[in-house]
Symmetry: C2
Subunit: 518 residues, 2 copies
């Protein structure tokens, strides 16, 4: 089958196949209608599992062998243990030892600790990675050194791909901070506590074989069961799942940078002027320094107005927890926990609820939570004059970030990107983004230190802030200002080789990333 | 296709099809190995659902129309509202009004309040019922008056049938004591609080269209979400879901009958003598008067021994809640809540955990909770000399009870049936049970007021109670004793017509029920 290239609805050239798998070009927001049925995992019988529920095996190698690990399989892991995760590296050490080749690694995200796996990408143990490849792995892949092409999906897109059978997981290995021998598991307790385990949900439900690995084995029942043992084939007890200092930060910190604080304050002022901060509203902002600061400015405004939010979505941290505990938000709908206060709160506060990519983000569903959020604060590496944005590559072409929940959050009622006008003297607003991750029609406001650009599609917002005194400009004005200061940046030199595909939330291909010529 | 009859592994004649659907004869415990894949529901897109998550329609009729209600469809409901449920009757009132015919009603159980539906069984609105048909519906069906044959499944078997695609639900209508407009729902709060909603889980996950109906609409997010709105198509607000007095009893009561108290005490003494009541053990007993009393005798023994149980499974009630709150059990794994104390405890005690037929009972899984329970106390209408038991028909042939979780619980480590030796002068131990529901190899002990019979397969139990002074006899001795007192009972006069099939936990046909000649 020869690969054909077509221009998708966003004007990006995309191939008809990648890694030998057929691709559907992006058709526009909400335009692609899936056909067919969700993936049906193999029906199993209790008769093939121990009647007393004890599925404990002596070690991970035994479990991988019993799961039938062999050439060409897809092995999934999740990233709740972040840069403290020991397990993914161990899996592929064992695969190497067993002489297994051409595996597809399907993590929900990879971290710098996984640079250990570069040797296995080089020697053919791993064929390619589908999942975000932050840092060293991103650099390796960007330079064209991975055999297959990577595939980047949003958190919701990953669930969608598994649910729809686009990615069939042969073996899911779930790092579980607490578990019983039946396989019920949670992330709330134990030396490797990570908060929740939602990123492993799809893997548990749809993988052919599921292995739960824990360093905190408790008697049945492990409660709560964020992962249900009824989906689990084997359990394994290990000494140490990960490095707790890198799993979760002891504490998250608000930015001290005056520039970022300025952006954060401007963002909060904009939301206030636009009438978004009102009683019963909802918001989502990340755990980065600027986002945390936005939350704190929201808090000030809410206290002044004597109002509360109905819910806050997103990763939890001590600032959000304090808002919950002070009664300023009714609920935290938590997707991943960023600090110890988040973990504590999740086990203590009934209003601190764990969510999953299924409930929050899956687009091939009957709705998800993202659309119910009044305002979401996100980042971007680049934005173009049509508000299209990039979140995975830098302007030098290097693929250094994952999509995370970013694409999914674009469905919130108002999407705001507080970004500096330039970074290292490279303008952030460009003629054309290096990689397209999010269509401009879903991005409403760009907030920079030199002015605010509102997407012309959002006439309502433009009207609302008209007399607010806020520095509203057109995106073209901001673009010109940056060029005036930095000059027009050179385009990166990219090769022909496609090193990764970028999926839209519906499984269509919105863009590809090409290798960087070094 | 002509129907063929074969003797299944339990020696019962079963047909090759029922209601035009192919049947697999029961092959023995754990012998039938399913092939194929779980049912894959249609993939949906968020693009077809309101972006703000508000799926509220003006009434149930509109929702049924939008769901495409038409002739021959399968409509499912659940029974958490028990005899207080208004909804099932309303659905078929609307179907009748719309002139829709030949529906299959697939409730998790029917109650006397649903005798309202007999008119629709007569006029062809409903073709047949698959689900337990307690009381008046059971009588109607027993007399051969339903067009199709009924199909009885255990709670776990119902989940299995839906999961495996044996029963395809067109429209699930979920009675939700609390819900938001997105469809997140729970049974914990509101005027129609029922505790949990686990019996509707499979329906929400696998039905083509899902309607959530509530009389207690709350702002998003409805927390906890026992049913996830991501599976829900439409939501409806009604004035009143049901009659709260019949949904849940104000209080459950232990039997005052001296005969039953004697049976309960004997059961507890047996468990103690057999070494079952030890620190960290687990048990399940129902909410009937005798079962409650067994729990209270367990409690006395536990206090005397200064031990506690790890968990108690099954329906919750004030007695079980008191054990939880006094620290005598670590966890209640609750399948349905029987009284107001149960509902209160579930919302207050983290150790009071809700389960579902998926986690507790599904046999086409990777294990379930039933096998992990040390001892389960169950009832039966009849038992034979091989310990085979009946739980659905009376000795006069009438089908008056559902299977409930009974078959699923047989997988517990020790299964005890405390039953009177005779009821209304009809012996309970028979040569042959009227309807076979559970294979004798899974039933360990029969406890009657005139002696205890232990299944010869359980040599370990026989040894353990050898010198206990307990009145252990052979089942044949008990059988003879009953006949000596009551005389040999007459067999009921049954017709040829099959009025219902009885499924085993793996979807095979273990027996059929024939009409009663009146």
């Amino acid at each position: 089958m020869s690969v054909e290239w077509t221009k998708n609805a966003a004007g990006r050239l995309v191939p008809s196949e990648l890694n030998g798998e057929k691709q559907i070009p992006y058709m526009g927001v909400g335009k692609y209608k899936p056909k067919g049925r969700k993936y049906g995992p193999t029906i199993t019988s209790n008769a093939d599992f121990p009647n007393d529920g004890n599925k404990l095996l002596k070690d991970l190698k035994t479990a991988l062998q019993k799961a039938g690990l062999k050439d060409g399989m897809t092995i999934s892991t999740h990233h709740h243990l972040r840069n403290g995760d020991f397990l993914a590296n161990q899996i592929f050490d064992i695969a190497k030892e067993m002489g297994v080749k051409n595996l597809r690694w399907f993590p929900s995200a990879a971290f710098p600790i996984h640079k250990h796996l570069i040797q296995y990408l080089e020697d053919g143990t791993i064929h390619h990675i589908e999942g975000s490849m932050n840092g060293p792995l991103g650099k390796f892949v960007s330079e064209g050194k991975m055999k297959g092409a990577g595939m980047l999906r949003s958190h919701g897109g990953r669930y969608q791909a598994v649910q729809d059978g686009e990615v069939k997981i042969d073996i899911a290995v779930i790092s579980a901070p607490t578990a019983d021998s039946f396989g019920n598991a949670n992330g709330l307790y134990g030396p490797s506590a990570s908060g929740l385990l939602g990123f492993a949900l799809a893997d548990s439900q749809y993988a052919e074989k599921v292995i739960v690995v824990t360093d905190n084995l408790v008697d049945f029942p492990c409660i709560p069961w964020q992962i249900q043992g009824n989906y689990v084939d084997f359990t394994v007890k290990v000494e140490k799942l990960g490095n707790s200092e890198e799993i979760i930060s002891g504490t998250t910190q608000i930015t001290k940078s005056p520039d970022r604080l300025f952006l954060a304050e401007l963002t909060a002022k904009f939301c206030d002027a636009a009438g978004i901060i009102k009683d019963g509203f909802s918001f989502q902002s990340g755990a980065g320094g600027t986002s945390l600061a936005v939350g704190e400015f929201f808090k000030e405004i809410m206290i002044k107005k004597a109002i509360k939010a109905r819910f806050a979505r997103g990763g939890s941290n001590k600032y959000l927890v304090s808002m919950l505990e002070e009664g300023l938000v009714d609920y935290i709908l938590d997707g991943q926990t960023f600090d110890l206060d988040g973990v504590r709160s999740m086990s203590e506060n009934p209003g601190h609820t764990w969510t999953s990519p299924f409930t929050s983000y899956n687009y091939h569903s009957k709705g998800n939570f993202a659309g119910m959020v009044d305002v979401v604060i996100l980042g971007a590496t680049e934005v173009d004059l049509d508000f299209n944005a990039n979140v995975v590559t830098h302007s030098d072409g290097y693929l250094l970030h994952g999509i995370g929940g970013w694409q999914n959050c674009l469905f919130s009622k108002t999407v705001i990107l507080p970004i500096p006008l330039f970074r290292d003297r490279i303008p952030v607003i460009k003629d054309r983004v290096t990689t397209l991750c999010g269509p401009g029609e879903l991005i409403d406001v760009i907030i920079t230190e030199r002015g605010i650009a509102i997407n012309p599609l959002r006439k309502d917002l433009i009207d609302k802030v008209k007399n607010s005194g806020l520095p509203v400009k057109s995106i073209e004005e901001l673009y010109e200002e940056a060029i005036k200061i930095c000059g027009k940046p050179e385009e990166p030199v990219l090769g022909e080789k496609v090193i990764a595909g970028i999926k839209w939330v519906d499984g269509t291909l919105i863009d590809v990333v090409r290798e960087v010529r070094t």
